[in-house]
Amino acid sequence: MKPAPFAYHVPNTIDEALAILGNDPDGSRLLAGGQSLVPMLNLRLANFDNLIDINHISGLDHIRIESDSLVIGALTRQYDVAHNDDVRNRLPVLSNALAHIAHTAISNRGTIVGSLCHADPAAELPAVLTAVGGELVVQSAAGTRTIRANDFFNSSFTTAINPNEVATEVRFDLAGGTSGWSFEEVARRHGDFALVGVVIQMTLEKNAISDVRIVVFGVAATPQRITDAEKRLIGQTLNDATLDQAVADVAAALSPPDDIHATAQYRRHVAGVLVRRGLLRALEDANSSA
């Protein structure tokens, strides 16, 4: 046993959870899969007076396709999403990203929404949401609102969710048309957090790029879009010159951290390599979907 004492609450409904949360928003924390929160409590990096276990709230465990979104409930486990056929068919970048995350015993309990709310800068799912687009649905005693992916990640471990709110689901946009994706990551071991990762979503029109999002993660406080490269690639095709330019834009946009896992210079280099590879793979995927 390592955590400091806390009061444990197990509400059966969202309203009950919101009422408990409302009593002491800053001193309380929601407990979903516990796969990020409990390590922090065990290491005493954090402690809270109240833990509100949301695992017994019904209606939060679902995977649904709704017109142009893939909707995943707050209690849906990463393992179940990774092994879901609808997800594999309609949003394969998510299945692919999940294969890089942690290990079975962790993903059996860890949730998709919990990972997004935790907002670890080296985590895969925030980058996937940023690249494909989408929104979180959050609820408080005052009502429900949605937060778009681009407005969600404020800084490391910090999101736009307020302390008195509960996220109930995430909605990933499903791209139409001739579109493709790629997911590239370098980590020390399988299942470790990324040293550097890249997620790309690309749409083609008449063989040229009509829309592209390039997201690099593990290099900054939040998933980072390389907007200069994105803008320059619109209307283009991929060739040595456009790829070199994209890699140069990546290097210019990033000032990654130096830490025990890798130097800043190494991370910047790898980001360029992965973006080049990722653009080509996304293009190939888009062409094969056409």
């Binding site: 046993m1 390592k2 955590p3 400091a4 004492p5 806390f6 009061a7 444990y8 197990v10 516990g34 796969q35 409990v38 390590p39 409590l41 065990n42 290491l43 007076d49 833990l51 276990d53 695992n55 393992y79 942690a102 290990h103 079975t104 015993a105 962790i106 059996n108 309990r109 071991r189 399988h190 299942g191």
Partner: protein
């Protein structure tokens, strides 16, 4: 701060147990200290090493990352639940025959992971075995013999 105790009812290896514990006690603490089931090991206590892996309602979980109160009403299987009257089960047997352990500290967690893994995938490739094993750290045997043991257990299960 509250140090209230909670009543927790659980079934461990087919036997029901009731304990009174503080909310901050992990499932691993309760298995080891309240129920005396010290087969489940604690290495890192933050989810990385896999030594504490047990099966909760049919799925593996890190018992260091789950509070015992959360296991209320759950069925737990630990390494102590694998043998039948002292006769090793097929995974344990395969590890014995293939030198799959040395000090044995990581072994309970590995055995629980392997059980669940082979149930979902009775015919794994070596690569799949290695990916699954990435969640369990062994400091001594070396993974070669663990991989060999898992492949042998898979063959025995088919």
């Amino acid at each position: 701060m509250a140090t209230t105790k909670h009543a927790v009812d659980l079934t461990v290896n087919g036997e029901s147990a009731q304990v009174m514990v503080e909310a901050r006690r992990t499932l691993a603490d309760v298995l080891r200290e309240e129920l005396g089931l010290t087969g489940t090991k604690l290495g890192c206590e933050h989810g990385v090493c896999g030594a504490c892996t047990v099966i909760v309602d049919g799925r593996t979980a890190r018992s260091c990352l789950m509070f015992a109160v959360q296991a209320n009403g759950c069925e737990i299987t630990t390494v102590e639940g694998l043998d039948t009257d002292g006769k090793l089960d097929f995974v344990q047997q395969a590890f014995t025959e293939n030198h799959g352990l040395q000090c044995g500290f990581c072994t309970p967690g590995v055995l629980m992971s392997v059980h669940s893994f082979l149930k979902n995938n009775p015919n794994p490739s070596e690569e799949e075995i290695r990916i699954e094993l990435s969640g369990n750290i062994c400091r001594c045997t070396g993974y070669q013999n663990i991989v060999k043991s898992i492949a042998a257990a898979a063959a025995a299960s088919r």
